[in-house]
Symmetry: C2
Subunit: 255 residues, 2 copies
DNA sequence: CGTGATCTTGATGCTCATCAAGGCTAGTGG
DNA sequence: CCACTAGCCTTGATGAGCATCAAGATCACG
């Protein structure tokens, strides 16, 4: 009974990791075996726990964040099922579970990815993940630096929906939403009160619904339009204006 | 005459790169030869030019930034002499010169760094640079998410001073400051006008002087205190409060 | 000496933080 | 079964921080 449940969990974990990594590159037989090995070594952590490194999240949500000296917190990124979570240097960022989570021991996978000759598929997948992690950090900087609260919230919801959909955890409009408004505030650089008001404005505008644990994006395209959201998949084109400007500046006299 | 000046520039470029990379790991003879090779292949770009990838900046300032559809710009990071600048995917970030710059062809260095057995020193140095780049992005997120304009400005000036001092371009209090207030605004997520008022407030408070091309931090410690600046070198300790909180949350009942 | 880039200043109002309080829900213990 | 509690969401009032608009000053440079 218990073993059966364990086996079921491992199978689901393996599927999830395969979906995440396989979406980025072709995986070989040995790659899949490494994944199955990781999926058999699961560990659970309660909400609030600090997560160890060298693991892959297979269920639940986590985040990377920093706590400032005055007690304020800033969340750098959300970690979703399928994402690797490396424990970072203390003081730079800590990885914390936001819900109860399960993680798989990914030491073997990380090691395999080091060897791009033996495990080219794994190496490529993790390289793509690294690159995307940086992309997400840059997107977050744009959210904080150049968007209003309303835009930030729309942009974050669209990002989370897209990332969750990739591993089969969201559809075109609906996504699980286990985050408290306090957590959203810590991520978006806002106060709790203002997050609440922003969410309600989005609700009143008919753009989202947000009930216990579930978010519904009623009109994803309108949301994307209002905040300038760009899909993670489709590479963005340079805007013509930016190209012209760069050219004219490049033609400026040398110093 | 001309060759002599070129040789002098190459020598200074080699010294700069050596100082930057050597500060992070021990460099071997072959490492140094690769550096000298890069320093001989210099290229100049005017302010405003978009920079090619696979290069190392040896003089002048650049930045990584994105231009939004409404024309607003967000600067992600400043690139200073000694920093590698990789051309990124269009739309995610572009690398642009903020002053006239010189770059060295670092293809050989990057390639050497790939081989951690043959060139352990180089590999270690570039790994450290990557890690620090991420640290700087996280610091930038904290600036934008949780600091006032006054704090952001102080924090950025302290960061720039420290990075420049490392390659011999700043002392304890003084650093070159070629950035316009518009550029500072694009980095700090503020309007030009507010950057101006913030700078003046810092001046009136006796904390900084800012004349054409030079910034003086009259009291770096007071600046660091007011914005919670943490040196890039000294690893930060976790605050005791954060530890206690994590422990108590971890002890919460399982879901 | 004119021209464009940069810096500066004032006036006005929106965005968002803060303070304070009340409501809702789920879990807890009497 | 019903207070009781704790966490989370919600609402109102007030003000600080910052954006925006508009205009002038200063500087660098051809």
């Amino acid at each position: 009974m218990i073993t059966e449940r364990l086996a079921g969990r491992a199978a689901r974990a393996g599927e999830l990791i395969t979906r995440r990594l396989g979406g980025l590159s072709g995986l070989s037989g040995p790659d899949l075996e490494l994944i199955q090995g990781a999926a058999r070594r699961l560990e659970s952590s309660p909400a609030g726990a600090e997560l160890p490194g060298q693991r892959i999240l297979v269920s639940g949500w986590a985040c990377r964040r920093r706590t400032l000296t005055d007690g304020a917190r800033q969340i750098f990124s959300f970690l979703l099922p399928g994402d690797p979570c490396e424990g970072r240097r203390r003081g730079v960022a800590t990885v914390a579970a936001l819900t109860a989570v399960e993680t798989a021991d990914a030491a073997g996978l990380f090691q395999g990815a080091e060897d791009s000759l033996m495990q080219p598929g794994l190496a490529e997948a993790f390289a793509a993940i690294r690159e995307e992690e940086e992309r997400l950090l840059l997107d977050h900087i744009v959210r904080l630096g150049r968007m209003t609260a309303y835009e930030r919230m729309a942009h974050l919801l669209l990002e989370l929906r897209e990332r969750l959909a990739r591993v089969g955890l969201a559809d075109e409009q609906r996504l699980p939403m286990p985050l408290t408004q306090e957590t959203l505030a810590d991520a978006l650089g806002l106060s709790i009160v203002h997050v609440n008001r922003t969410v309600q404005q989005l609700r009143r505008d008919g753009l989202i619904e947000l009930r216990s644990g579930l978010a519904v994006l009623n009109d994803p395209e309108a949301l994307a339009e209002l905040c300038g959201y760009e899909s993670l998949r489709a590479p963005r084109r340079a805007s013509p204006a930016a190209g012209v400007e760069a050219a004219s500046r490049a033609a400026a006299p040398l110093s």
